[in-house]
């Protein structure tokens, strides 16, 4: 059910917002301080020391897209990252560590060793948001933040490698995973360009390229050629027997 509603939300983020990634590409992200859900005080750079990371931000008390977005990420990339780490940080100054833990638990992350959940130190939040191009606006009537939903890839030197806004096809999320694993992603479709049939798609389960319906279309000609030959053969055989 939830999955359906998430895909229903796949939004048409305009083309420019996606190409916007280039504004931030290879920008150095500041080494902000944070507290992990385990209570450990640390910095962003110590999280990237062993692995590149996929970073997303949320607010625990967000009644909007935060929960569906985190769930969508969980479904797209799974709970046990290998060769990279997933870090989800709360930017909301009202959130406390218990709120972060509750969010993680609600989404089924009982074991803190899978994704890293944490709370940003309040005075460091603006620097990080600016560097990532993350827009936040407090709506006082709703008493909630209007904010971006976004996934970023940070390499081990603290450079921003990729950045993707909104709910996109999970196969595009896998592009970011591959980048976080240190693969050089040679080419990628521009999110938001809508075509009916593609030749290749990323398998959201495994992260490998697989043939898609477009390529299946390329298999039609050879198969129909053999089918045609065999059919003709059978027809000729039938006639001869008669």
């Amino acid at each position: 059910m939830l999955a359906c509603s998430v895909f229903g939300l796949i939004s048409a983020i305009p083309l420019w917002a996606q190409l916007n990634e280039g504004h931030y590409y290879l920008r150095k992200i500041p080494d902000v301080r944070l507290v992990l859900a385990t209570g450990e005080q640390t910095t962003l750079y110590s999280l990237i020391r062993s692995h590149s990371i996929l970073l997303t931000l949320f607010s625990a008390r967000c009644g909007g897209l935060c929960s569906p977005y985190l769930l969508y990420l969980k479904q797209a990339i799974g709970t046990t990252p290998q060769g990279y780490a997933v870090v989800a940080l709360s930017f909301d100054p009202r959130d406390r560590l218990e709120d972060v833990r509750a969010t993680a638990q609600r989404l089924g992350f009982t074991d803190h060793s899978t994704w890293r959940w944490g709370l940003l130190l309040q005075e460091h939040v603006p620097r990080l948001l600016t560097a990532l191009g993350y827009s936040v606006h407090y709506d006082s009537t709703r008493r909630e933040f209007d904010h971006s939903i976004m996934l970023c890839v940070l390499d081990q030197r603290g450079n921003l490698l990729r950045r993707m806004e909104g709910f996109q096809d999970p196969v595009l999320v896998w592009d970011l995973v591959r980048e976080a694993r240190g693969e050089f992603v040679l080419s990628y479709p521009i999110p938001g360009t809508d075509v009916a049939l593609r030749c290749f798609e990323l398998d959201r389960e495994t992260g490998h390229w697989r043939l898609s319906w477009g390529m299946a279309l390329l298999l039609v000609p050879p198969i129909s050629s053999f089918a045609l030959a065999i059919t003709l053969q059978l027809l000729i055989g039938l006639r001869r027997r008669r």
């Binding site: 040679l186 080419s187 990628y188 479709p189 360009t193 809508d194 075509v195 009916a196 049939l197 593609r198 030749c199 290749f200 390229w209 477009g214 390529m215 279309l217 390329l218 039609v220 000609p221 050879p222 129909s224 050629s225 053999f226 045609l228 030959a229 065999i230 003709l232 053969q233 000729i236 055989g237």
Partner: protein, 473 residues
């Protein structure tokens, strides 16, 4: 004269008339690039489109007409599928020329998606162009099917593919001609189906405006285009297998297990060779690029190996008489291999990185077309003319072969050299930073004039004799 004789002679006449005109288009292009002529961009690209489509078209139908004629030695060939093919070819070419010269169609033979939607072509011309491709495709499809049915009536499919020879048995015998024709027909039919799918997707966009995936469209385009041109060469080889041993005064070739293996391999691998057209599309997954390089090497090599071996073995100490037909076949095999060498060098991805879409590409495909496949067809034509008129064209032998081969070699060499100097293909005027382009265009154009000088008397010789075949009582 039988109906098939007349139809074959009609094909020869049609092809012979168009050939010098299409050569002339090519020469005009080269001279324009050399700054000797001053054509408008639109005229240049219209000529380029016409040159490519006409050359591929006439030599495809000629190779197929040759195979259709020789097939009657083994099976009962019906004339009507070939006649339908002829009529629809004429219709298709007529529509094509109307679109090109009446409607400024200038998208190149391969009309790479989405160029037709962005080119300065009249709207009707694009539609007429698609219709003309439809007409050619349907005509050739019916013709191919006719040939396939004729073969299957006599040889069951497994036997037509020589699988019994593959397993080491020597009976029942499948002649190499039947084996090669069958694998080529089975390889060719998918190209027509791919073209139909491609046209369908184009028409969907016309009707609804829905955009297609540019990568998928490019894959389909080259599946169709590469496969068609590749298979046309194999029809030429089939003709050679059938005629060459007799021309050398030797026994017909037999299908050895290795020959059977080579052609069965060709049948499957040929469909993946086209991937080399997309090497520089980094979006194509890299594993496909690896397959492309392997397939580009595997597809031609067995065929080249068995053919070369057979032909050289036939010629060795044969004491044979060299006249137009055997000379054309022999030279054709040599240049097929030389062109193949140029092609596989370009099919290495690391080389393609600096050669893709330079003149190296027309260099190698002209080598195995102008000096390869066309010669196989000319070999068939001269053999046919001698069969029907008894005249072997001995007066033409020295001037025609000398001019044609000398002109052809100089012409392609100018392409190779310019390609290695990074001169690009498909441009009407060379930008200042590739100034080498002008000189080599002039050299190429002049050598091409020699080819034309050889072709014109040859065509007159052929036309006169084929005319008599068509209108004999």
């Amino acid at each position: 004269m039988t109906a098939l004789d007349r139809l074959t002679a009609t094909w020869i006449i049609t092809v012979s008339v168009v050939f010098p005109i299409a050569i002339l288009f090519g020469i005009l292009m080269r001279l324009n690039q050399a700054n000797v002529l001053e054509l408008s961009s639109l005229t240049f690209y219209s000529l380029m489109t016409a040159h490519g489509l006409l050359m591929v078209g006439i030599w495809f139908v000629m190779s197929m007409a040759g195979v259709s004629y020789l097939l009657q030695r083994y099976v009962n060939v019906q004339v009507w599928p070939a006649t339908v093919g002829y009529v629809l070819t004429l219709v298709g070419v007529g529509l094509l020329l109307a679109a090109i010269f009446g409607g400024d169609l200038h998208t190149g033979w391969y009309f790479l998606y989405p160029l037709p939607f962005y080119a300065r072509t009249s709207e009707w011309a694009t539609l007429v162009f698609l219709l003309s491709l439809g007409s050619l495709g349907i005509g050739w499809f019916i013709w191919s099917l006719g040939l396939l049915v004729a073969i299957l009536r006599r040889y069951p499919l497994t036997q037509a593919l020589a699988w019994q020879h593959l397993l080491g048995k020597s009976t029942p015998e499948t002649p190499p001609f039947i084996l090669i024709t069958t694998t080529t027909l089975l390889g060719l039919i998918p190209a027509f189906i791919a073209a139909v799918i491609l046209l369908g997707l184009f028409l969907i966009q016309y009707a609804s405006g829905a955009t297609q995936d540019a990568l998928l469209m490019k894959n389909l385009t080259f599946f169709f285009g590469h496969t068609l041109v590749n298979e046309m060469l194999y029809f030429g080889i089939a003709t050679l297998y059938e005629l060459f041993p007799a021309l050398a005064g030797k026994q017909p070739y037999k299908t050895k297990p290795f020959v059977a293996l080579a052609w069965n391999l060709v049948l499957v691998v040929v469909w993946t060779a086209y991937f080399h057209h997309l090497y520089m599309d980094f979006v194509q997954p890299t594993v496909v690029q690896y397959i492309g390089q392997l397939a580009s090497w595997i597809a031609p090599i067995p065929a080249v190996a068995v053919t070369t071996f057979s032909v050289l073995g036939t010629v060795y100490r044969s004491g044979m008489k060299w006249w137009l037909a055997p000379t054309f076949f022999f030279a054709g095999v040599m240049f097929w291999i030389i062109g193949g060498l140029g092609a596989i060098l370009d099919a290495i991805v690391a080389n393609n990185f600096v050669l893709h879409n330079t003149l190296w590409v027309p260099a190698h495909f002209h080598t195995y077309n102008l000096l390869g496949n066309v010669l196989f067809s000319l070999g068939f034509i001269t053999w046919f003319v001698r069969e029907k008129s008894g005249d072997d064209g001995s007066r033409l032998y020295r001037p025609v072969t000398t001019l044609y081969l000398l002109g052809g070699v100089g012409f392609v060499l100018a392409f190779y050299i310019a390609g290695s100097l990074s001169v690009m293909r498909r441009v009407d005027k060379y930008p200042a930073f590739v100034s080498d382009g002008h000189l080599w265009a002039l050299v190429g154009g002049l050598f091409a004039l020699l080819v034309l000088a050889a072709v014109v008397p040859f065509v007159i010789y052929v036309l006169r004799r084929c005319w008599r075949v068509v209108f004999s009582a």
